[in-house]
Each structure stands twice: as C-alpha cells, then as structure tokens.
C-alpha cells in the first residue's frame, strides 16, 4: 500500500502535516524534497490530518513536496552482518559499506513479561577498579554515568567497550561530537574490538529527529542478539541529548510542558528504553550503560532526576574519576559475595578510610593541627586516588583486591583498618 501525497498543509519545525487517509499510527513515509529524501514517522492522526516528524528536519521542505507512505513502522535489518558496522540514527551505513535490507525487525517493541526475567547473578568485568571492586557492574543492570560536559565520559565508555567481558557491544551515539565519534571508532579499531561492536551514531551535526531513533534501534538489535543467547552491552551517550530532542518535538507539537520544558512523559519515555535491560530466563542479557550529562552539574535537573528513579544506581564521573561517594551499583550485593572472600570487606573498609581522609583533608584546609592519624590518612588518600581511582588504572578485580591490601599495609597497622581479624590473618601482606 504505497500512497503518494503532494500537498503538505503545514510545516512547523520538524513536523509536517498532510491530509491523507488509510494511514496508521507509527507508520513511516518518505518525504522527497529538492535536498533529497528523508524518512518521516507518523506521530499524530487527527481526522484526515496526519502529522509526521521528518527525520532530516523540516528545513527546506516545501508545501508541494512529495510524501510517500510506506505502510509499515520503522524497521532495522538484523543479522550477524551488523557486527563491525557503523550506521547513522536512521540505520543507514556511515562506514561506506553496503546498506542492509534483509531480515527487517520493528523497533520499540513490547516490554518483557516480568515473570520471564530472572534475578541477575553475573558480574561484568571491566578492568576498572572503581567499577569492578567498589561498584560492580552486573549483567542486566541499567546504570547511567552522571557527569558534566568536559568530563571524559566518552573515553570511559570506550574503555568499557574495549574491555567489558560481554559478547556484543552496541554503541548508540546521540548528539555525539564528530571528534568523539572518530575517537570511538579509532579506539575500538586499534583495540581490535570493532568486530564485536555495532555503532548507531547520530552526531551533533545530524538532524535532531534522527537522534530519537538511536536508543530504540540500538536496543531492538541488542534484544534480538540477547534472545539468541548473547550477552549484550549497550552504551548510550548522551541520554540528555535524547531528552532534549524529545523536548524539542514536544514543544513543536504544542504539548503542555511539565518541568523546565520537558514533556510530561519524560519518565515513561526514558523508562521504556532503560527497562529493555534484562536477563532473559533461558537466553542472553542486555546491560545498559548510559552517559547522562547534568546541565549545571545539577542532579535535580529533570533528566538526571528521572533517570535516577529508573536506573539501578549511578556512577558519578567528576574530575576525571568515578566518585566513590554517591556512586552506587544497586545490584552489586547480588554478585560480590561470590567473587572473593575479601571483596566486600575491602570495598567497605577502603571507602570508610577514604571518607575519613576527606574529613582530615577538610580539617587541614581549615588550619587545624594534624594528628598522627590524620597524617596516615592523608598519605593513604593520596595513594588511593592515584592507584585505585585514576581512570588509567587497568587491572583485574583480583589484582585490585591484592593492591588494596598492599595499600592498606603501606599506610596502616592491621587494627586501624577496622577489618575483621580472620581476613587480616589470611590476606595481610607480610613485610619482607
């Protein structure tokens, strides 16, 4: 059923309205203007008026342009051929390779039946001590990286993409700076991880509407791989751009804004993406890590705020480090009892001492006298920041735990650490 219409009645921002019949909600159309073809999606039906958001934007679209309805909703090709490929937000190749048309699947499908989920039980190793040791990432978890512009959240994601022990990485870039896109590509290429990665990249210079598709396309593909038994890690950067794109469309559609201009369904929209994270009973899993930049470093801003209510914890990336305070992996308790006997104790112990270091640091800056204990803490804090928190540190969990004991023994007497006696007996490094 391919119908062609030649009269666009209304063009407002990226939304066009045509009079048409037999159109279904969510259908796709091709708009041909003199600047080329663009896909468009039906976002409202009202009588015979059909409103569509044009993926490449409304700019340059003329009232006399041709709108051809395709009679199906947005689809993406799914096969193993996707691996190692790079696409844009609309699913078109960005790497010069052939376009894929076989085995089309719909995007934004129904949600998983909660009774088909299982309690997560596998950790995902990343080689980053602040994650593996202190806030373990768990298969099927959804976690945002709360950060601000200028922080190295993209290098962090790239490292995780390189090192995470999963089968497939799907990287969704939303409003990604072109440089960052190239950085991702080069890093993964040189690290040899490209062959297990699929890119869906919308760069900052691409039309805004296309960015709305990126999470859905990425997750639809991830879901199919997960159903085949693969462990998939989806990296989305930056979800704030996604929310801003939704805001733009909502305002164009004259929706009543709820909070700082964002539409009232921001929570539901974000949730329907993040909730795709799942551990299927009897198949693979999807884990989602998303970067969320906080405008003005304000966690109560609607985007990070709503995200926090949806996700299972968060990582704060500040001053180039994953902050131990505030960062939380809510699922870590499910896995860190079975890694190594001393995991939980080292995790709690080192953070408590680091908190004490922060207090001493404050006292020092206020000019109070430093006790012997304070000096020990100050020395400890410095080593901890350098050897654990620094993002360049790249060691497996077991090595990180050993290093933790070494640091403690360099700085403290066993009794000062507050760790249980039997653990100290087993793990405290003997001085040569």
């Amino acid at each position: 059923m391919r119908k062609v219409y030649n009269k666009i009645e209304e063009i407002s921002g990226n939304v066009i309205t045509v009079a048409a019949d037999g159109i279904r909600y969510g259908d796709l159309a091709v708009v041909t203007s003199r600047y080329g073809e663009s896909l468009a999606e039906v976002i409202r039906l009202s009588g015979e008026k059909v409103s569509l958001q044009v993926f490449s934007g409304g700019r340059g679209v003329s009232t006399g342009d041709e709108v051809r309805f395709l009679g199906h909703p947005m689809q993406v090709s799914f096969s193993d051929n996707l691996l190692g490929r790079i696409f844009d937000g609309g699913g078109r190749p960005r790497d010069g390779g052939p376009a894929l048309h076989e085995d089309l699947i719909e995007i934004g499908g129904p949600s998983v039946n909660p009774s088909k989920r299982i309690i997560p039980r596998n950790m995902i190793r990343t080689g980053i001590p602040m994650i593996d040791l202190f806030n373990t990432l768990v298969e099927s978890q959804k976690l945002p990286i709360f950060s601000v512009s200028g922080e190295p959240y993209n290098p962090l994601l790239a490292r995780i993409a390189m090192q995470a022990e999963v089968d497939i990485i799907v990287l969704g870039g939303i409003g990604l700076k072109y440089d960052d896109y190239l950085y991702f590509r080069e890093t993964l290429e040189s690290g040899g991880a490209l062959s297990r990665t699929i890119f869906f990249v919308h760069t900052a210079s691409d039309p805004i509407v296309e960015s709305l598709l990126v999470p859905d396309i990425s997750l639809a593909v991830a879901e199919k791989f997960a159903l085949q038994g693969k462990r998939v890690l989806v990296l989305l950067t930056d979800m704030t751009n996604f929310a801003d794109a939704m805001k733009e469309i909502a305002i164009t559609m004259e929706q009543v804004p709820s909070n700082r201009g964002y539409p009232g369904d921001l929570y539901s929209q974000l949730a329907s993406r993040y909730e795709k994270a799942v551990d299927f009973n009897g198949a693979g899993s999807i884990t989602i890590l998303g970067a969320t930049t906080m405008p003005g470093d304000d966690v109560t801003h609607p985007v990070p705020d709503n995200t926090g209510y949806i996700t299972e914890g968060q990582y704060y990336l500040r001053n180039g480090r994953i902050e131990p305070f505030g960062s939380l992996s809510r699922l870590k308790q499910l896995v860190n009892d079975s890694t190594r006997l001393d995991h939980r104790a080292i995790m709690d112990g080192m953070i408590k001492l680091y908190a004490a270091y922060k207090e001493s640091l404050e006292k020092k800056s206020m000019g109070f006298r430093m006790s012997e204990w304070d000096s020990k803490l100050l020395a400890y804090g410095e080593i901890f920041e350098r050897e654990m928190m620094d993002l360049s540190v790249n060691i497996p969990l077991e090595r990180a735990l050993d290093r933790g004991w070494e640091i403690l023994s360099e700085c403290f007497e066993p009794a000062e650490t507050g760790l249980r006696t039997e653990l100290i007996k087993e793990f405290w490094p003997t001085k040569e």
């Binding site: 279904r24 039906l45 009202s46 009588g47 088909k116 309690i119 099927s140």
Partner: protein
C-alpha cells in the same frame, strides 16, 4: 441499551478519539479492532458524539476508521477465590500464564482469565434456604490457603433477596452456580463464586466505618515506636531516588502483621518486582508457617508497560484489597509509587489538552489522590466482624523536593508521613526515615510520653550537632556534648535497623517496648563524667553493648545476659536523673 459502536478519528500517543453512535458511559471499556486482536481502552471524555479513550496498549498501527466496540461495562476486576498468590498486570491479566502463552514479551490484545476456571473449590454452604440476604452477606465459604474465603452476595445487587436454593457441600468451579437468589419482584438471580466490580468505585457493603486506632505492626522500630501506622490507616513514604523507598516497602510486605498484602508495583523497575516474585514463594510467613506468597497478591505494571494501565493498576489493587476486607481480614496495600500513577494522569491530561495545574499536573490531582487514600479504613461488616484496608504509598518527588504537587496532595490526606532523606541514606543510615521531619497521627507501640521525650533528645542533639560544626568540640559544654551523644546513641542502636540481620530485621512490639525502657534509662540518667573523651568512650561502649543486644534473639539467654550487663554498666555510671525527666521516671515506676 442500544448497541454503541464507533470509528477512530484521531490517534495521539496512547489516546484515541472516536466518533460514537449510541450511548456510552464515562470510564466504559471499549475495544479497538486491529486485525485479529482487540485492544482494551477506557472512555475518559465524551463531547457530543466524540469520545476520547485511553488505550491500555501500544497504539502503533491504529488508523483512522478502525472500528471500536463498546462493552457497556466499566473497567472492572474479577473477584473470587484464587486471587491470592497471583501476579497480575494492571488490568488483572495473569503474567505467568501470559508468559506461557506469549513467551518473553507482553503481546498486545491478549486478555486471559484472571482466575483459573477449571480449578475446583470445596464449597461449604453457610446461608440456609429462605433466609434473607443482601449485598456482601456470606452464602458459603471455600478454603483458600489459610483463609476461609467467603462467597458473598455480589456487591452490585441492591436491596434484599431471599435464598431460593443453595448447593450441597462439595467441589465446584468458580463459574458453577452455587445459589439462586430471588428478588422481591420475583426475578431469580444465579450466584457463582465470581463476580465483577468496577475498580474506580469503592466497595461499600458494610454497616459502619470506625476510626483507625489499633497499630499495624511493621516490626520496623522507627515506624512502630515513633511514626506508627494504624490498621485501616494511611501513610506515605516520599523520598529521592536511592533513599530506600522500595526496600522499605519490601521489608514491610514481609513482616507486617496483617492477613493479606497487596503489592502494587506501579511504574517502577521490573527488576524489583522480580525479586519479590522469586523470593516470596521461598520465604515463610512466621505467623502461619506457610509461604509468604500465599498471603500476597502482586499487581505489577512496571515503568515500561503501557502508561494507561499504570493508572488502572492502583485501582485494581485497592479493589482486591477491599474485597478481602469484606471477609473480616486486615489487608495492607503497598503502592509503589503513587507519583508514577500521578504522572500517568498528567500524560492523559496533557493529551486531552486540559488546562494544566502546577507542574502540568491536572487540577483534579488532589481530589483523585484523596479519593484513593480514602478507600482505606476499618469497617464493621453486616455480620459484626471487622475488616480493614491499610494503604501505604511511596512518592517519588522530582528532585527529591517535597514541595511538589503529588507529595503535598498526599500529605493532606494521610495519617502518617515517613519522609526519607538523602542525607541519611548517603550516610547508610537505614531505614532512612527522617526522625525530625516525619510525623504520625496514630497511637504507637510505646508510651507517647517516652517517645516524646526521645524526640526532645533527638531535637536537642541535632541542635548541638549543628553548633559543634561551627565552634568545634572544644567550644561545646560537657552537658551539651552528652546530650549530643545521647541522640547519636538513639540513632545508632534504635532508629537504624539492619534488615540483613536475621534477628534485627523484624522486631516485635513487646521487644520494642522492653528495649525502649532501657533506652529511656540512658536518656534520663545523669552520668558521672569528667571529660568529653570519657563520655565518648562510655557511649561507644554502650552502643556496642546495645548493638550486640539487638542481634541477640528475643528472650534468649544471650538476651538476658546482655541486658544484665547493660544494667550493671548503667548502675556504675549513672549518678542521678536529669531533672526534666524526673516526673516521667516517677510515672513509669508507678506504672510498674
């Protein structure tokens, strides 16, 4: 009534506009025909021949001209034996059965029987032939788990009826006719074990509502002692993300001393529901020795499930709660989170292009929230027994700021407020209920004079704590410092509770009363102390002792040994009584 049908004339998100021929009612259920499937929807506005419906499914693929059938029924749930232990979505679709049929995903337009049709129930008749009955009266009973499930005269039947016939004791399925009633005008009405009730109408088949006064024991010390909830009362738990709302609800759903718990997971994470789903069947209810699942119904409409069904889910839950209340049982409804429900209303209101109120919530937000919480209560039934519905709702305020419309509307209508604080949860002080901001209007487990005194200690300690931040420990007097230590002590060993510790996780009221008396001894005591270091050492020791005491099983040898030990330590260090506590001490002595 004439057959009403309609055609779709507009689609906007999950709302459709329909041109209707015939009469339809507000909140009536309609079905949109889409190929072979029918998508459930509810009428939310009627203007002339144009009606707006919210669709409980994804609307993708609906087109102009699609047919809509109307059911003449309001959105309703099926009530009958077999509800307990079930897991439903917001529209009472059983999820495990749906998974069997459709696999991993929630397919559109599949509606299964909420109650098993084939299962036989052992029916015992209770109403004799020719007795006169009316709505809510018991006709017979069937055993459902540990409960005697009353088969009642359907609540929608007005007036009085005569029992014309009733079946013998025996096994029947829910759709078998178990009795026939005759109305005064002579019509015969067959009664089965199951009937439907519209979710948005409260069930009122009782004689009388009572004031909620009896405490509902949650076994969380901070709640039972300081901010108690009454059976038939209402309470809310607002808190920023990560403050532990859901964990607190989960703990309550396990330990609360009620007959039945209805969990409404409304717009929250699916992972959390899974934890309940997997763990409850394994856990035993200490009161009955049976699986916790046998007293639980889960209504689960997680955040990625369709928004309109989220709005329905809290009503589905409260209707099932009221149904079991009609059997003289105490039911607890836990709704997590009511903010998501309010947001669902906001989304619909926006699509209806209604004039928005604060933060774009609809103007009727307050009355709708009030109407929901007012469905809680203690009622006297017609046979003299008493049942109750207690409602506890979490609120997820934007930015953790309680000055937002949903929190404020909720605070107006609840009897207790358990405000969670980010500060306390960041400091890993759980449960993170703020001891100074929260309140309750219900009577609690411990004498009110004692808790009042304890609150004073907390308040005073907080003030000293603030002051110490400025002037340092050196600038604080010893008396003030001891006051500060006392409040820290109360916080550490009584307000905080370790939900992972098998003993500390659930503290019965008797134990709370017992422990609190000894704590009062610490509060009211004037200690022999010369320096602040001495004071700190003493209170650290006391904390350690009390913490061990908290971990000792109630009434065990260990328990009494530590108690003696604590008393001895107090005997050695207390030299008198704080003068503001003198009258209270005298009073408690007299009571003993």
């Amino acid at each position: 009534m004439t057959e009403a049908t309609g055609k779709v004339v507009g689609v906007n998100g999950n709302m459709i506009s329909v041109d209707v021929a015939g009469n339809i009612a507000l909140n009536e259920v309609g079905y949109v025909r889409l190929g072979d499937s029918r998508l459930k929807a509810e009428v939310i506005r009627i203007r002339g021949s144009r009606a707006e419906l919210q669709v409980f499914e994804m609307t993708r693929g609906i087109g102009i001209g699609d047919e809509v059938e109307f059911s003449h029924e309001l959105l309703a749930v099926q009530l009958g034996p077999g509800l307990l232990g079930k897991v439903y979505d917001g529209l009472q679709n059983p999820l495990p059965e749906l998974a069997e049929k459709c696999g991993f995903f929630l397919d559109r337009g599949v509606y299964l029987d909420p109650l098993p049709r084939a299962q036989k129930w052992e029916f015992t008749p209770k109403a004799a032939k020719n007795t006169r009955v009316s709505a809510g009266d018991t006709i017979g009973t069937v055993p459902e788990g540990i409960f005697e499930h009353r088969i009642m005269v359907p609540f929608f039947l007005p007036g009085e009826y005569t029992v014309a016939s009733i079946v013998e004791k025996g096994a029947y399925s829910i759709t078998d006719t178990v009795a026939e009633l005759v109305s005064p005008d002579g019509t015969t009405i067959p009664v089965t074990m199951v009937f439907e009730w519209p979710v948005k109408r409260p069930i009122t088949a009782y004689t009388n509502r009572r004031r909620p006064t009896e405490p509902m024991i949650t076994k969380v010390r901070l709640i039972d002692t300081f901010f108690p909830v009454a059976l038939g009362g209402t309470y809310c738990i607002p808190g920023p993300f990560g403050a532990g709302k859901t964990v607190l609800q989960q703990i309550t759903s396990r330990h609360a001393e009620v007959d039945i718990v209805i969990v409404a997971a409304c717009g929250e994470r699916a992972g959390e529901v899974v934890e309940t789903l997997v763990e409850f069947p394994e856990l035993t209810d200490p009161r009955t020795g049976r699986s916790l699942m046998e007293r639980t119904v889960i209504i689960c409409n997680t955040s990625s499930m369709p928004v309109a069904a989220r709005e329905a889910s809290v009503y589905t839950a409260v209707t099932i709660a009221e149904y079991y209340r009609q059997m003289g049982l105490n039911v607890l409804l836990l709704a997590d989170s009511t903010s998501r429900w309010a947001q669902a209303m906001r989304e619909m209101s926006g699509r209806l292009e209604e004039i928005p109120g604060e933060e774009a919530f609809p103007a009727y937000l307050e009355s709708v929230i009030a109407g929901f919480y007012e469905r809680a209560g203690v009622v006297e039934l017609r046979d003299g027994s008493v049942g109750s519905v207690t409602i506890g709702g979490t609120v997820s305020p934007a930015g953790g700021n309680f000055e937002e419309p949903v929190t404020q509307a909720t605070l107006k209508v609840v009897g207790a407020f358990h405000g969670l604080s980010r500060e306390r949860s960041d400091a890993r002080k759980y449960p993170a209920i703020h001891p100074l901001d929260s309140w309750s209007k219900y009577p609690g487990a411990v004498e009110p004079e004692l808790t009042e005194y304890a609150r004073k200690v907390l308040f005073n300690g907080n003030e000293v704590g603030q002051m110490m931040k400025v002037v340092g420990e050196e600038g604080t007097s010893l008396d003030d410092f001891v006051g500060y230590l006392k409040s820290e002590f109360l916080d550490a060993i009584y307000l905080q509770q370790n939900s992972f510790d098998p003993v500390d996780a659930a503290v019965p009221t008797e134990r709370q009363r017992h422990v609190f008396k000894l704590i009062f001894r610490v509060f009211s005591g004037r200690f022999k102390l010369a320096t602040k270091d001495e004071a700190r050492t003493l209170f650290n020791e006391l904390q350690l002792k009390f913490r061990d005491w908290n971990g000792a099983e109630w009434n065990s040898d260990d328990f009494s040994r530590i108690e003696t030990d604590i008393n001895a330590a107090l005997d050695a260090s207390i030299e008198g009584i704080e003068h503001d506590a003198e009258s209270l001490v005298a009073q408690t002595r007299k009571a003993e």
